[in-house]
């Protein structure tokens, strides 16, 4: 009995090793092969089935948008630094810090508006159906995070109010 049991257990282990090994190797190879020559826009082309001409137009929009985005990011980073300085060493939110917070929020809103404008322009270069899907997906991915956080917060607040 022991010998048969050992054989069967050994066979099971071998099967698991074969399945797991071939899975891990092929996943690694596939992932590394597909990520080798990927540019920022490869996902767009794959996901929204874009032609080369559509991709070229989007590439132009993308290259035009990136410097603006970097500029806004630099402004936001500078404003965050100013806010940290205004908050530094104090135990309360002083008027200067409040002003810096408002300016930071305004900059973020401006940056988001610019980003949404870019998404709209990109969606307009796509076939209508794909464009709608792209816009919805990008709004979900970029603005959905805030919605999720706000919903969680309001849910927990409501919970507290019940008590």
């Amino acid at each position: 009995m022991n010998r048969s049991l050992v054989i069967l257990l050994g066979a099971l282990v071998l099967c698991a090793a074969l399945l797991g090994g071939s899975y891990a190797v092929s996943r690694h190879v596939c992932q590394s092969c597909m990520s080798k020559s990927v540019s920022d826009l490869d996902w767009l082309q794959q996901e929204f089935h874009l032609s080369d001409a559509e991709l070229a137009r989007i590439q132009k929009l993308h290259e035009g948008y990136l410097p603006k985005c970097a500029e806004m990011c630099a402004k936001i980073a500078a404003k965050k630094s100013e806010l940290e300085t205004a908050l530094g060493g104090t135990t309360n939110v002083n008027p200067v810090a409040q002003q810096k917070l408002a300016e930071l929020a305004a900059l973020r809103a401006q940056c988001q508006a610019q980003m949404l404008q870019h998404f709209t322009e990109v969606s307009q270069t796509m076939p209508p159906e794909q464009g709608r899907r792209y816009l919805a997906e990008m709004q979900r991915l970029t603005l959905g995070f805030h919605e999720q956080t706000e919903q969680t917060m309001s849910g927990s607040m409501g919970h507290e109010h019940h008590h």
Partner: protein, 127 residues
């Protein structure tokens, strides 16, 4: 020659001494048998003797039951050790693993590409 014993004269006497009457001999054998049986001491059975006997019988039958399990395992082990079956199973498992790996690798590469695009157009400070 004249001084020798006559065997014919001795014959009736021998017969008489050994087996004078067959009926009498059988009766004395039966008596002797009965006497011997009566004289034999048959010890009393120990308490719960029958129960003990049945328990031993059941105990002896138990391994026979587990032998069935051993046979089943042995048959399965023999099946597993067949080279053709083992090779076919290994091939099927490797192909299945590779297919699953390619599918998941594609998904992961797709997610990586999406994350790269998002990182380019929507920095984390905005999300």
């Amino acid at each position: 020659m004249g001084g020798g014993t006559n065997p014919a004269a001795l014959e009736p006497m021998n017969k008489e001494n050994i087996n004078p009457d067959p009926g009498f001999a059988e009766a004395s054998d039966a008596k002797l048998g009965a006497l011997l049986r009566a004289s034999r001491v048959s010890p009393e059975l120990p308490p719960r003797f029958h129960e003990g006997v049945w328990r031993r019988i059941e105990k002896a039958a138990a391994p026979a039951k587990s032998n069935g399990g051993i046979a089943w395992l042995d048959a399965l082990a023999a099946l597993v050790l067949r080279p053709r079956l083992a090779l076919a199973t290994a091939a099927v498992l490797m192909v299945a693993g590779a297919l699953l790996g390619v599918r998941d690798g594609n998904q992961m590469a797709h997610q990586d590409a999406q994350a790269r695009y998002l990182a380019a157009v929507a920095p984390h400070s905005l999300r």
